[in-house]
């Protein structure tokens, strides 16, 4: 950013000088007629009434013309200043995002490497009481899993950016698909006091890609646990609405807290300043979710839930017997579109 400061200063000086020059020029030209008349009067030359009237008319007309020209130029200049400032603001924001991204990735990769390394070194050097050995191994394993997860997220988002992710929607009963997955998620998050519940009525059959659904639910639930505060409570509500299958993932945390509802789905966007970060992550989870939802012809929204917390709503095409073929076409086109 510093490299931009000097040219910007020069630019502002030029604009100010130019404005001053123009002001002087306009004043000079509009007053010229008046001076001319005064000079002539001083010299004793008398103007006929007709000549005076014509002179006044001409002076007024040129005055108006100069004023219009200078206003136009002035507006043009203000416009250019505004454009430059806007570009600069964008640049600053982008630079901030890039710093945040680098900072987050550095921290997210180095921290688990550091702790896994120390756990293993402690074991190697025989510095661990037997009672703690199992715990050390488990924690080192968790660190490696966290690393694997980040690397996987980075690879998937890279593939999504290059539109190389294959999505094959098929007719799926979502409830029976979700149940075993939620069991795994409970095993993962349960020990830290998180509660994960599925609220589903009748069977909901959608046109979706099983492995994408797996990633979507994993990311949304983990996100809910992460931002759900201590003893997070994450609810999944599955239902059919019109021709869509709707899955809501709701947590009871602080909600979106004014975060931009669209920006949270962008890659590497994380709330706040990274040097005072409060949450793990590199900011890829929701981006991956949005892209996978879109590739299946679905939509995703994020809102503050009534009564606190955030609710993410994914809607996918419902696979009805009579409409299955049509939905399939839709999904295929949408999928292609995303690619």
């Amino acid at each position: 950013m510093k490299s931009l400061h000097r040219p910007l200063q020069v630019y502002i000086v030029i604009v100010v000088l130019y404005a001053a020059l123009m002001g002087w020029w306009v004043t000079f030209l509009t007053n010229e007629g008046t001076w001319l008349v005064r000079d002539m009067q001083r010299a004793g030359a008398a103007l006929t009434a007709e000549q005076a009237a014509t002179l006044e008319l001409v002076t007024a007309r040129t005055g108006k013309m100069f004023l219009a020209e200078s206003t136009f130029l002035g507006l043009l200049m203000l416009g250019s200043v505004w454009l430059v400032l806007r570009a600069l603001r964008r640049e600053t924001l982008l630079a901030q995002q890039q710093r945040n991204f680098l900072s987050a990735v550095t921290h997210e990769l180095r921290s688990p490497i550091a702790s896994a390394k120390l756990y293993i070194e402690s074991l190697q050097l025989g510095r661990v009481e037997p009672a703690k050995t199992e715990r050390y191994l488990r924690h080192a394993h968790e660190d490696l899993q966290r690393l694997a997860h980040i690397v996987e997220d980075m690879l998937v988002s890279r593939r999504l950016q290059d539109a190389r992710v294959e999505v094959r929607p098929e007719v799926l009963e979502l409830r029976s698909l979700l149940e075993p997955q939620l069991e795994r998620l409970r095993e993962r998050h349960g020990p830290r006091g998180a509660r994960i519940e599925l609220l589903a009525g009748e069977a909901v059959t959608a046109l979706a890609d099983a492995s994408s659904i797996d990633t979507i639910v994993d990311n949304l639930v983990s996100n809910g646990v992460k931002y759900g505060g201590e003893h997070a409570h994450v609810e999944l509500i599955l239902r059919a609405a019109g021709d869509r299958a709707v899955l809501q993932v709701r947590d009871h945390g602080k909600g979106l807290a004014g975060a931009d509802r669209r920006r949270i789905f962008e890659a590497f966007v994380r709330g706040g300043d990274e040097s005072v970060r409060t949450q793990q992550g590199v900011g890829l989870g929701l981006y991956i979710v949005r892209e996978l939802v879109a590739a299946q012809g679905g939509r995703i929204t994020a809102e503050d839930a009534p009564g606190g917390g955030a609710v993410f709503e994914v809607s996918l095409p419902l696979a009805r017997h009579e409409g299955a073929a049509r939905s399939e076409d839709n999904a295929a086109t949408n999928g292609d579109g995303a690619r």
Binding site: S103, R110, P112, L118, Y119, S275, V276
Partner: protein, 231 residues
């Protein structure tokens, strides 16, 4: 068993667990806090012998904690432990008054050696000097316990590092003390990359203690080797 008390400031639960376990194994007492603001309160309430301070922390980052402490005159030794490893960050950490800087991931042995080195330096500094508690150089007198110098009627506040350099020289009056030795005793083995640093401190000390800093009477430069104090 030593009884030094260390404070680990780290928000990653796994790191703070494995670090504090290993430090306890060395016989130190270890407290752990997980964010910058709590760390600042804890250090103000009861000064530990060393703070192991992460940089990226919730609520208040490690650099800000260090800066706040130094500004209020708290010279608790600080070892930065951080995932940021650019030389800018390292220089920033040390410029803010950090004592040493270790980037993650690091070796367990290195961590323990560095902690020991900092504790050894501060212990040397806190123990009574064999050269006595005060140093008199003509009209100037320096109190090693309070980091104060009195020159005639005027009082000066010395930084702990300045006092430590003077002590290094005063403990061997008339002998040449090399820059490397001063660096080692005052800063630790590789915290500061350059022996120029020592020269800068000497310049300031001369300005305070010497009647004519350009013609030093007490703190002499020995070309090519180091410094000598002649009381």
């Amino acid at each position: 068993m030593s009884h030094e008390r260390l404070l680990v400031v780290e928000d990653e639960a796994h790191l703070s667990e494995v670090i504090s376990d290993n430090l306890r194994l060395e016989g130190w007492r270890v407290d752990v806090v997980a964010d910058g603001a709590t760390a600042l309160e804890a250090i103000r309430a009861s000064r530990p012998d060393l703070v192991l301070l992460d940089v990226m922390l919730p609520r208040m980052d490690g650099f800000a904690v260090c800066d706040a402490l130094r500004k209020e005159g708290n010279d608790v030794p600080i070892l930065f432990l951080t995932a940021r490893a650019s030389s800018d960050d390292r220089v920033r950490g040390l410029a803010l008054g950090g004592d040493d800087y270790l980037s993650k991931p690091f070796e367990l042995k290195e961590l323990i050696l560095r902690v020991r080195a900092i504790l050894r330096r501060t212990e040397w500094f806190r123990s009574p000097s064999p050269a006595g508690e005060t140093l008199t150089l003509g009209k100037a007198s320096v109190d090693f316990r309070t980091n104060r110098a009195q020159v005639g009627e005027r009082n000066y506040e010395l930084s702990p590092k300045e006092t430590m350099i003077l002590r290094c020289l005063a403990e061997r009056p008339g002998e040449v003390v090399s820059r490397a030795e001063i660096l080692d005793r005052v800063w630790g083995y590789d915290a500061f990359p350059t022996s120029r640093t020592v020269d800068n401190f000497i310049v300031r000390l001369r300005r305070i203690l010497e009647a004519d800093p350009r013609e030093p009477r007490y703190i002499h430069t020995v070309r090519g080797s180091g410094y000598r104090l002649t009381p």
